[in-house]
C-alpha cells in the first residue's frame, strides 16, 4: 500500500521560505540606493516635487547646463572632457603597469617578491587624506600643481597596487604549460606573453580598466585640492561647487548634473558586467 511521507508545512517549503526571506532582506538593503536613483531621475525632470517624490510638472530647464554655460561656472562640456581625460589617463597607465607588474609577480621568482607584494598592499591601505600635504609639496616642486596630468599620475599610482594584485590573480589562473608550449613552439618569453598569455587575461584587463576608468572619472579629493583654474575643473568639482556654494541649492540642477555625471558609469558597468561576474567567480577558463 502506498503511504505518504509526512512533512510539516515548513519542511515542505523550506527552500521557498528561505528564498523569500533572503529576497526581502535584499530589497530592504538596496531600497535606499534604488530610491536615491529614482529621486534623482524624477527630480531632474520636474519643476518641483511634493512630499519628496511626487513630481509636479515636466521640464527640461534643469538640464539647461547642457546647452548654455552658466554664469560663474565653466562650460560643462569642457569639464566633461577634462573628466574623460583624467579617467582615460588613469585607465591607460593602470593597464600598462598592472598587466606587466601582475605578470612579474605571478611568474618570476625574484628576490624580495613576497615583500613587494605585501608592501604593495600596504600602499593601497593608505588613506588618501593623509597624503595630501606631502603630495601637494611634490606637485608644487615638479610643477604639476593645477594640472590634470598631476592628478592622473597621482590617482594612477594609488590604483596600481590593487590592480596589480587583481592581474596577478588572473595570471595565476593560467597554466604554466601554455607558456611552456609557446616557448617550445619557437617564441621568446616576451612574445609568448604578448601572443599567448595576454589574450587570456583579457577579462582581467577589462576589469582593471573599468575600475581605473571609474576611479579617475569619480576622483574628487585630488581635483578639489590641487586644481584651481575653472578651465581644468572636472565634473566632480563642478557638482560640488553647485551644491556647496553660497547661494541656496537648486536641487533640480544638482540632480540633473548628478545624473549626467553618472550615466557613463552605468553604461560601462553594463558593457563589462560579464567580466565582473567572472572576477567574483575567480580565474579564467578558456
Amino acid at each position: 500500500m502506498e503511504r505518504e511521507f509526512k512533512l510539516t508545512f515548513f519542511q515542505r517549503n523550506s527552500e521557498k521560505i528561505l528564498n523569500t526571506v533572503i529576497f526581502i532582506i535584499l530589497i530592504i538593503v538596496t531600497l535606499p540606493i534604488i530610491l536615491g536613483y529614482l529621486w534623482l531621475i524624477i527630480r531632474s525632470f520636474s519643476v518641483d516635487v511634493v512630499r519628496g517624490f511626487i513630481p509636479t510638472q515636466f521640464t527640461l530647464k534643469n538640464w539647461r547646463f547642457l546647452w548654455e554655460t552658466m554664469e560663474g561656472y565653466p562650460n560643462i562640456w569642457k569639464a566633461t572632457l577634462n573628466t574623460l581625460w583624467v579617467a582615460l589617463g588613469v585607465m591607460g597607465i593602470e593597464i600598462l603597469t598592472t598587466s606587466m607588474g601582475g605578470y612579474a609577480l605571478s611568474r618570476y621568482n625574484f628576490r624580495g617578491r613576497s615583500f613587494t607584494m605585501k608592501f604593495v598592499l600596504v600602499l593601497h591601505a593608505f588613506p588618501t587624506i593623509s597624503l595630501l600635504v606631502a603630495v601637494f609639496y611634490v606637485l608644487k616642486v615638479t610643477g604639476l600643481l593645477d594640472k590634470l596630468i598631476g592628478v592622473i599620475l597621482l590617482k594612477a599610482s594609488l590604483e596600481i597596487p590593487w590592480g596589480t594584485w587583481i592581474m596577478k590573480g588572473f595570471y595565476d589562473g593560467i597554466p604554466w604549460e601554455l607558456e611552456w608550449a609557446g616557448l617550445i613552439d619557437g617564441y621568446g618569453r616576451m612574445k609568448v606573453w604578448w601572443k599567448v598569455i595576454l589574450p587570456l587575461v583579457k577579462p582581467g584587463i577589462a576589469v582593471t580598466a573599468v575600475f581605473g576608468f571609474l576611479s579617475g572619472w569619480s576622483e574628487f579629493i585630488f581635483v578639489n585640492t590641487f586644481i584651481f583654474t575653472q578651465e581644468t575643473w572636472t565634473l566632480s568639482k563642478y557638482v560640488k561647487s553647485i551644491i556647496g556654494d553660497f547661494r541656496f541649492v537648486d536641487y533640480g540642477l544638482v540632480t540633473a548634473i548628478g545624473l549626467f555625471y553618472v550615466i557613463p558609469t552605468l553604461i560601462l558597468y553594463f558593457l563589462v558586467s560579464k567580466y565582473m561576474i567572472r572576477l567574483t567567480i575567480g580565474g579564467v577558463k578558456g
Partner: protein, 358 residues
C-alpha cells in the same frame, strides 16, 4: 635526428632534489619511456630536455652539442603536454600554425603544412573550431599535430594519454607508436602507466625519487628487475613477494614446509631471511596440499574474461598473492590450494637493500 645524451643530470628546486644525478642516452630515432610514480622526477627531466628548466648540474647533449643553456626555441623539439596546452583563444588551424608562424614561414607554406598534418591526424574537418569545442581525443590530436608540424628533431611527450578514457588511450597508444616509427623522430615519453611504457617504448627508464633505477628494454625490466621497486612497478598485477625465506645449500629457498628450487646457485648468507618474488603468470594452482609447495586458501576471485586473477591468502603468514588462472578450472573461494611455482622464473631479493639477487 639527434642522439640524446644525459650525463649526471641534477635539478634542484631550493632544497628539493627533483632530479638527482641521472644518466641515460637515447639513440637516433629511438622511442624511450621515462616511467615512475608521480613526483619521481621524470617530468622535470623532460622539461630540462625541452629547455624549460636549466640543469642545476650535469649535461645534456643533442649529438655532441652541449644544450644546457640553449633556449627552447633553438632546440627544435616538439612537445605534447598532459593537458594538451592548446591556446584557448586560437582555433585549431591557428594552434597548429603557431610554431610555423614563429619561424616566419610564408603564408601559403603554413597553410599547406597545417592542412597536410591535419589530414594525417584526421582533424582536417576541425580547423576552424576552438579547442573548447572539440573532444579530449581531438584536442590530443591537435596537440600532436602542433608538435609535429614544425618537423622537430626530438619529440617529447608528457603523459599525453592520461586524460583520455581507457578505450581511446589504447587506440592512441598504437597510433602514436606507429607515427613515431614512420617518422623516425627521436622520442622521449613520460608516463606513470607501465602498460604504456611496455607497449610503446624500445627502452624504459624506471625512475624513483629523482633517481634512475633501471634502464633497459621492456623485456629486461620485466624479466630481470633490478630491485623490488621495479618488480612491483612493472606488470599488472605486479610481482608477488613472499617474505622470510632462508636459503638452503645455495639452491633452495625454504619457509616452513615449502621448499622452492632456485634457477641457479646463489652466494648468500645462510642465516639471513630473503624475499621470494614471482609473477602472477608463473604459478600453477593445485587443489589440496602438495609436498614442498607454498600453501594457502583462495581468498577471492577476479574474473577478467580471458583469465581469472585468483587471490590466495598464504597459510600462517597471511600474505595475499595474485595469480593468473584459466577460467574453467578455478578453485572456489575458501578452497585449500598449493602454489606450484615455475622454478625457472623465481626471483630473490635482499630485504634490506631491496636489490635483486636473482
Amino acid at each position: 635526428m639527434p642522439e640524446i645524451r644525459v650525463v649526471n643530470l641534477k635539478k634542484y628546486f631550493g632544497k628539493v632534489k627533483a632530479v638527482d644525478g641521472i644518466s641515460f642516452d637515447v639513440k637516433d630515432g629511438e622511442f624511450v619511456a621515462l616511467l615512475g610514480p608521480s613526483g619521481c622526477g621524470k617530468t622535470t627531466t623532460l622539461l630540462t630536455l625541452a629547455g624549460i628548466y636549466k640543469p642545476t648540474d650535469g649535461a645534456i647533449y643533442f649529438d655532441d652539442v652541449l644544450m644546457n643553456d640553449v633556449p627552447p626555441k633553438y632546440r627544435e623539439v616538439g612537445m605534447v603536454f598532459q593537458n594538451y596546452a592548446l591556446y584557448p583563444h586560437m582555433n585549431v588551424f591557428e594552434n597548429i600554425a603557431f610554431p610555423l608562424r614563429a619561424k616566419k614561414l610564408p603564408k601559403e607554406e603554413i597553410t599547406k603544412k597545417v592542412v597536410q598534418i591535419a589530414k594525417k591526424l584526421m582533424i582536417d574537418s576541425l580547423l576552424d573550431r576552438k579547442p573548447s569545442q572539440i573532444s579530449g581525443g581531438q584536442q590530443q590530436r591537435v596537440a600532436l599535430a602542433r608538435a609535429l608540424v614544425k618537423e622537430p628533431k626530438v619529440l617529447l611527450f608528457d603523459e599525453p594519454l592520461s586524460n583520455l578514457d581507457a578505450k581511446l588511450r589504447m587506440m592512441m597508444r598504437a597510433e602514436i607508436k606507429k607515427l613515431q616509427e614512420d617518422l623516425g623522430i627521436t622520442s622521449v615519453y613520460v608516463t606513470h602507466d607501465q602498460a604504456e611504457a611496455m607497449t610503446m617504448a624500445s627502452r624504459i627508464a624506471v625512475f624513483n625519487q629523482g633517481k634512475l633505477i633501471q634502464y633497459g628494454t621492456p623485456d629486461e625490466v620485466y624479466n630481470n628487475p633490478k630491485n623490488m621497486f621495479v618488480a612491483a612497478f612493472i606488470g599488472n598485477p605486479p610481482m608477488n613477494f613472499l617474505r622470510d625465506f632462508t636459503i638452503e645449500g645455495r639452491k633452495y629457498a625454504v619457509r616452513d614446509k615449502a621448499k622452492i628450487k632456485l634457477p641457479r646457485e646463489v652466494e648468500v648468507d645462510e642465516g639471513k631471511k630473503y624475499v621470494l618474488g614471482f609473477r602472477p603468470e608463473d604459478v600453477v594452482i593445485k587443489e589440496g596440499k602438495e609436498e614442498g609447495a607454498i600453501q594457502g586458501v583462495v581468498y577471492v576471485l577476479e574474473p577478467l574474461g580471458r583469465d581469472v586473477i585468483v587471490n590466495v591468502m598464504t597459510d600462517k603468514t597471511r600474505e595475499l598473492v595474485k595469480i593468473f588462472a584459466e577460467p574453467g578450472d578455478v578453485p572456489k573461494e575458501g578452497t585449500e590450494v598449493s602454489l606450484l611455482l615455475n622454478e625457472e622464473r623465481v626471483h630473490l631479493f635482499d630485504p634490506d637493500t631491496e636489490e635483486a639477487i636473482l
